[in-house]
């Protein structure tokens, strides 16, 4: 019975995504290749002072992206520091500098790691005009980078990869904003609140008092999922009934997280002129997604471990209206995209079940990954895969007619190295430096034993992958974690983007070489299998040792 119900639930999701895959993918291909601007956009370009028909080199594209992100950071940081002066601050004080730095970085990098409890820290203006704005534009930045990378494959002997301002504007105004308005209405129908009531004190049925929260939640909840951001309006994130009230709102939010990432492979296929290439990327993403979902669900249903077995099921940190499968479906989705929203407390999962969200992120969030970031991450792995395929048969590898030479493979390799380096160095420093170790062990870690190490591994994995979910028992609002996780988020976002855009520039410059008998076809099941294997092997080799010290040690005891 549970298996049947779970299958129906998953099948409904697959059906919804199958229906939207083509039209949304084609729509995105259209908006990012069209040379017509809407009147509104022309006005916007005039106001900000850019010429929309001027394409940029990869260096200019990167410079614009960085300037946009720095300004975004300063605005979010400033709003937090000046919070008491803003309307609807709910009487909350200014956010201290260390926490404000971490939070501003977190939202500009599409991470949405939260070292703060929103109810006790942020007023409505900071959430709406600071955080939610970044929820839109950081998502648009991710999509823009993916599109620029795809142009690198699509263009021949070109010095340019598109215009950053046009890509971000169209991604925001034509794609994200209309979808967000519709999605917010759907969420309000489910019961997600949208008001400016502040906290209302009421007398409960038995004469006690309770403080009911208000807030513009639906408008933020929808873009939090749609833009794979994940930052909750409330501390309990999407397990809070005002963010995610019922079984169907839960499925709808899962759909929102996946709809753009699973449609982008179609956009990619369209833009490189060979839809089969998009389908093979989609097949790799779907395979990894389904495998991860089945494993996590089986582990949580089995409910092994002392506390779950004593209680009779792994229901600690889970909501009754979701039960096991609606929880694992959400958790898998949130950590295989870069969302990081939670409808359950991952810290309380079974030991091996808790390893799955970590593994999902360690894969590099490519199945299907965050909006844009998932596609460019997967395409970098595809470059690595054709290179390995080329080594095996002794030919110069090529992908989509572009030669993968020494400079291309160097950039791809550097891309792959950034995230693991940040995760492992960050975790190691937390325990290697005596003063930091004491602070981490006494102040930050909640659970004793191996599980405590898992909390720290999870934190750096989440930050470096710009996910934002947590083993939330960890107290992150300390000088060490505010700084170290802040840096991990910054470097984990912008260093890979640097390599992707450089790679886009290098590919765009090349002419296309015709496919020969020695070319590895990249639209066949063989390539799909190779790419799945490369993704798994890269991750397993890198992270197996540290996982044995955390979740594996706890789960196999």
């Amino acid at each position: 019975m549970p298996v049947l119900l779970a299958t129906f639930q998953a099948a409904t999701l697959v059906l919804m995504l199958a229906i939207t895959h083509r039209p949304l993918g084609a729509f995105m291909a259209h908006i990012f290749t069209s040379d017509k601007d809407m009147a509104l956009e022309r006005g916007f370009y005039r106001l900000i002072g850019v010429a929309p028909r001027t394409d940029q080199t990869w260096q200019s594209y990167l410079r614009a992206l960085l300037a946009f992100s720095v300004i975004g950071f300063l605005l979010v940081y400033g709003m937090q520091r000046l919070q008491p002066l803003l309307p609807y601050a709910l009487g909350l004080p200014a956010v201290p500098p260390g926490l404000a730095f971490n939070t501003a970085v977190s939202f500009v990098t599409n991470t949405n790691w939260q070292n703060y409890s929103p109810e006790a820290t942020l007023g409505y203006t900071t959430q709406m005009a600071g955080l939610a704005v970044q929820n839109f534009v950081s998502a648009a930045v991710g999509i823009a980078v993916a599109i620029a990378f795809v142009r690198g494959f699509a263009r021949r002997t070109s010095g340019t990869i598109g215009n950053f301002w046009v890509d971000v504007t169209r991604g925001t105004l034509r794609l994200l904003l209309p979808m967000a308005v519709l999605g917010a209405i759907v969420l309000m129908i489910a019961g997600v609140i949208q008001n400016f009531h502040g906290f209302t004190d009421i007398t409960t049925l038995t004469g006690g008092t309770q403080s009911l929260p208000g807030g513009p939640v639906a408008s933020q909840e929808v873009i939090k999922e749609l833009g794979t951001n994940g930052g909750g309006f409330f501390n309990a994130n999407s397990s809070h009934p005002f963010e995610n009230p019922t079984g169907w709102s839960n499925l709808f939010e899962i759909f929102l997280m996946l709809v753009i990432p699973f449609a982008l492979p179609y956009t990619f296929g369209r833009m490189v002129g060979d839809k089969r290439q998009g389908y093979s990327i989609l097949a790799v993403m779907a395979t990894l997604y389904l495998a991860s979902l089945v494993i996590l669900s089986a582990l949580e249903y089995a409910g092994s471990g002392t506390a779950p077995m004593l209680a009779g099921a792994a229901m600690e940190g889970k909501e009754q209206r979701f039960g096991i499968f609606a929880t694992t479906l959400f958790g898998t989705t949130s950590t295989l995209t870069s969302t990081g929203a939670v409808n359950s407390m991952h810290d309380s999962y079974t030991a091996l079940g808790g390893m799955l969200p970590m593994l999902n992120m360690m894969l590099g969030e490519v199945a299907p990954g965050g909006v844009g970031a998932g596609l460019y991450g997967m395409l970098v792995l595809a470059v690595i895969t054709v290179f390995i395929g080329g080594l095996l048969v002794g030919r110069t590898p090529e992908y989509l007619g572009k030669k993968i030479g020494p400079s291309e493979i160097k950039l791809a390799s550097l891309y792959i190295l950034v995230m693991p380096a940040l995760v492992l160095v960050g975790t190691a420093l937390s325990f290697a430096v005596p003063a930091i170790r004491t602070d981490v062990e006494t102040t930050s870690i909640l659970n004793p034993g191996n599980h405590g190490l898992s909390e720290v591994i999870y934190a750096f994995t989440s930050a470096s992958n710009n996910n934002g979910s947590a083993f939330a028992g960890l107290t992150g609002n300390t000088p060490w974690f505010n700084t170290a996780l802040g840096l991990a988020m910054l470097l984990g976002r912008f260093v890979p983007i640097l390599f992707v855009l450089a790679l886009a520039g290098a590919l765009a410059r090349q002419d296309k070489v015709p496919a020969t008998a020695g070319t590895l076809p990249t639209h066949r099941p063989l390539f799909v299998g190779l790419l799945v294997s490369v993704t798994l092997i890269v991750t397993a080799l890198t992270f197996f040792p540290i996982l044995t010290l955390g979740p594996l040690a706890e789960g196999l005891r």
């Binding site: 300004i71 209405i185 009421i202 004469g207 501390n235 600690e316 889970k318 409808n343 810290d347």
Partner: protein, 202 residues
């Protein structure tokens, strides 16, 4: 020189873009959504409040405690799940316990809750369902499982001097099926059930 002028130009473009986008996405958009909510869905956008005799006693989406002033469970009310939000069901402090599966504190807490729930309802400890002894993710879970609701019927009926069948019928009627028959789990909304229970006698 020209590159630094270039950098300044880009920064100004970014600044103007971010200010305009903040006004559109951070002010106009949420206000439009709020307006739509206020006109089309005032009850839901406003927090799905539950009223008894004209006074708001809670939200049907936010769980609450049914205890006396000292925190002891009241036998005449159906009890919610354990809560890790503040002192329990703190609407301003949503939170799970975040305790791991091998955490001694969690193991001890579950053990104690099993004993307490079993004694309170006069049943065997093995009859106590999982949701009765585990804290939810939000700390504000408004629901319990049908199994936990049924377990409490005899106790509630006795405390209210009502026939057990009356209370049992009310519980069965208040079980909400899965959305569309397969999304999520079956639930019983504790506040709504208790309000209906008070209504029986009113």
């Amino acid at each position: 020189m020209s590159s630094s002028r270039n950098g300044l130009r880009t920064t100004l473009v970014a600044l103007r873009a971010m200010i305009i986008l903040t006004l559109v996405l951070g002010v106009a958009y949420p206000l439009v959504v709020t307006g739509i909510g206020a006109v089309l869905l005032p009850g839901r956008a406003g927090g799905s409040t539950v009223e008894v005799a004209g006074a708001v006693v809670g939200s049907s989406l936010i769980g609450q405690s049914f205890t006396d002033a000292t925190g002891n469970p009241l036998p005449e009310y159906f009890q919610s799940r354990p809560s890790a939000a503040g002192e329990g069901y703190d609407g301003a402090g949503s939170s799970g316990s975040n305790l791991g599966p091998e955490n001694p504190d969690l193991i001890a807490a579950i053990q104690e809750r099993r004993q307490q729930v079993a004694a309170f309802n006069d049943v065997e400890v093995d009859a106590v369902p999982p949701d009765a002894v585990t804290a939810s993710s939000s700390g504000l879970d408004p629901h319990i499982s049908p199994a936990y609701a049924r377990l409490q019927v005899a106790r509630v009926a006795a405390a209210r001097s009502l026939p057990e069948t009356t209370v049992r019928e009310l519980v069965e009627a208040s079980i909400a099926s899965r959305d569309l028959g397969f999304l999520g789990e079956e639930t019983v909304n504790v506040l709504e059930l208790n309000v209906a229970l008070d209504g029986l006698e009113g």
